[in-house]
């Protein structure tokens, strides 16, 4: 065991495999959770029929999706059409590698963990664009273009918001930031940290293509955006990667701003991390089922007129704070 943990390659391989399996199982459960919560918000029950409390519903859905024929449109770019779903899920899951679930449970303790996570999160716009392009469908194309525009725009305030904990902690390593928070209090507890956390969550919603920023998908306008032509398992992978991305974003928010695995009452750190992630995901879901959607130009205006200047200001304040502290 110590051999495995000490060799970074083996360590990464084992943890990666475990992480992917756990995350995918979690994603399945999370869809159930979201549907149940949405049902409660909308004064209905949500899934109830399959298994106790409808818990087995995601499995039934997955089986159904796998049974279906995966149809590739006649004029689609077959290779890219096939490539887009695996790319999406790969990029979404790759982000999870640097998330510290406790002091030891972590796939790769990179020195540039934050950068790595943000980079992969930003890359997610591209498989979506590939899907939109390859589908040979105007709705898909429009959705893909919107995704790229939105992904690139929101990347900027997102990175700047992440710079605040980085500046305060003085490290780019996720584990380092969590350890800084264990030592000197959660970042969310400071005013600048709280503002940055809120900003990061907002931009993460946009990056993750969630309401009120789900312009690329926009069912009422673009049918299903880039995934219009996808069905069966291809569509399921897109859906799963969207959930995976949401969960991982929630985990990053917990790690960067909410103290990560830090907690009280001697509870296991892993439990704290999972609880915080769940809490952030709850907020994300709640927002999704309560808000309407922005228009694309309003979305851009929000980003460039308010979020980017706000994020700049926060970075400035954090820098001053650090320099005063010495």
């Amino acid at each position: 065991m110590t051999f495995v943990l000490s060799n970074p390659w083996l360590h990464g391989l084992v943890f990666g495999a475990v992480l992917v399996s756990v995350l995918m199982a979690l994603v399945a459960f999370i869809t159930w959770f979201e549907r149940k919560l949405a049902g409660r918000i909308q004064s209905r029950l949500g899934p109830t029929m399959v298994g106790p409390f409808g818990l087995l519903q995601p499995i039934a859905d997955a089986v159904k999706a796998m049974q279906k024929d995966f149809i590739v449109p006649k004029d689609a770019d077959r290779f890219l059409f096939w490539l887009a779903p695996p790319l999406t899920i790969a990029f979404a899951l790759a982000t999870a590698a640097v998330i510290p679930f406790s002091k030891d449970v972590l796939a790769a303790n990179l020195d540039v963990g934050v950068l790595y996570a943000l980079a992969f999160s930003g890359l997610l716009a591209f498989p979506t664009w590939v899907a939109g392009w390859a589908s040979n469908n105007k709705y898909a194309l429009l959705g893909g273009m919107r995704m790229v525009a939105q992904g690139i725009s929101y990347e900027i305030p997102m990175v700047m918001a992440a710079l605040v904990p980085v500046t305060l902690a003085g490290t780019l390593s996720m584990q380092g930031i969590v350890e800084y928070q264990v030592a000197s209090g959660w970042i969310i507890a400071t005013p600048v940290g709280a503002a940055a956390g809120l900003l990061f969550l907002t931009t993460a919603l946009a990056e993750g293509n969630r309401i009120p920023f789900d312009i690329p998908e926009a069912e009422s306008e673009l049918v299903a955006g880039p995934t219009t032509e996808y069905n069966a398992i291809g569509w399921s992978i897109f859906a799963a990667s969207e959930y995976a991305h949401s969960v991982i974003t929630a985990a990053i928010v917990s790690a960067l701003f909410l103290g990560g695995w830090d907690g009280w009452w001697n509870l296991p750190p892993l439990l704290w991390m999972v609880a915080k992630t769940g809490f952030v995901f709850l907020i994300v879901t709640w927002v999704r089922w309560s808000l309407l959607r922005f228009r694309s130009d309003q979305l851009m205006a929000l980003c460039w007129k308010y979020l980017v200047p706000g994020a700049l200001l926060l970075v400035l304040i954090a820098g001053i704070q650090v320099s005063v502290r010495g």
Binding site: I41, Q42, A134, L141, L142, I211, S220, F294, R295
Partner: protein, 405 residues
Amino acid sequence: MAVAVEAVATAPVVPTKAFVPDPYLDLDTYEADADLMTLSLGPQHPSTHGVFRVVLYLDGEIIVKAVPHCGYLHRGVEKLCEKLAYSNITPVLDKNDYVAPMLNEQAANMAFEKLMGIEVPLRAKYLRTLLAELQRIASHLLWLGTFAMDLGGALGGGTSVFMYCFRERELILDVFEELTGCRFHYNTHHVGGNRHDIPPGWPKLVHEALDTIESRLEAYLVMLEHPIFVDRTKGVGTIDAQLALELGLSGPLLRASGVDHDLRRDAPYGVYDLLDVQVAVDGGGDCLARYKVRLAEIRESIRLSRLLIDNVPQGPLSATKPLNMVTQFKAAAGQVYVGIESPRGELGTWLIASKDKPTNPYRFKIRPPSLHAAAAVPYVFPGHTLSDAVAILGSLDPIMGEVDR
């Protein structure tokens, strides 16, 4: 490139970007920034309210020209009505405006009665008015739900509003079911009166339903303070009073454009002459104004329904006995037009009877308010983005069953 984009020759005739919506815009004379993209919105599309198709010509994401196509739900109702006896037409018409079937029945039967000279008993007129007001509440609630879904998507906050609205509408349908036995296609009006009399406990049920709806209505008004909702609707799809009149828009659409006109008050039928209908008018002309007007109409309809249900008069419910007999009703030769205020506007019936066949209409023409709402699309869409187009179409609320008939 995988996607076909329609190339458009440019000629320096029309100054670019100055949008005066022109439904017959010649695309050859339009100077686009890049190639125009032709996007066919519908007929299979989540937010076209049935099967409506609009061909959009997009310059970037701005609509330059919109060409609507309808007829996908054409069922030949008018032709069918020429073959049916007067007493058999009502159930067919229920399917026209399937969101407010009561009003379809009323409009046609009022035309029949006028042509035949049948005087409807007061109690029947009274009940028809009450049912129309209840149906108006249900119809506007359904509109609000679908409109929110257009704004917020099928998997998000929009669906939440949709579910709430359906929950409230359900109460009205329950009340109707109690009265007529049907939730949707009632067939309760017939020539000369109504078919189903009020059961003794019914007013209590109506009161309960109305109380519940009114208490929950407060929640919808919160939407007015919701920044995203206001951003998406304010100043979007503005129709000024002149254009609205030109286009023949009626009902909430006309009133949202600042024209104070409501057939219930201005040309009363039923027992509206005994009522003081507060007509909601908003000068905004945009989607927000249409939302406000419809919400105000729900409140007014609740007030009127409460009042009406408490004071049902005595008397017969019908001047005729509803028989299933082709020769029961015979009309003398003549032509009449009767228009009533449906939730969507002026729902009219032009009825021609000839000497040769007194038992059937010779020609039966419906004036659907939704047809004019759908016809407004090429005047309102240009200059807006695709997202706004969906919001505008939602706020115009064309019911395709009625447009295509």
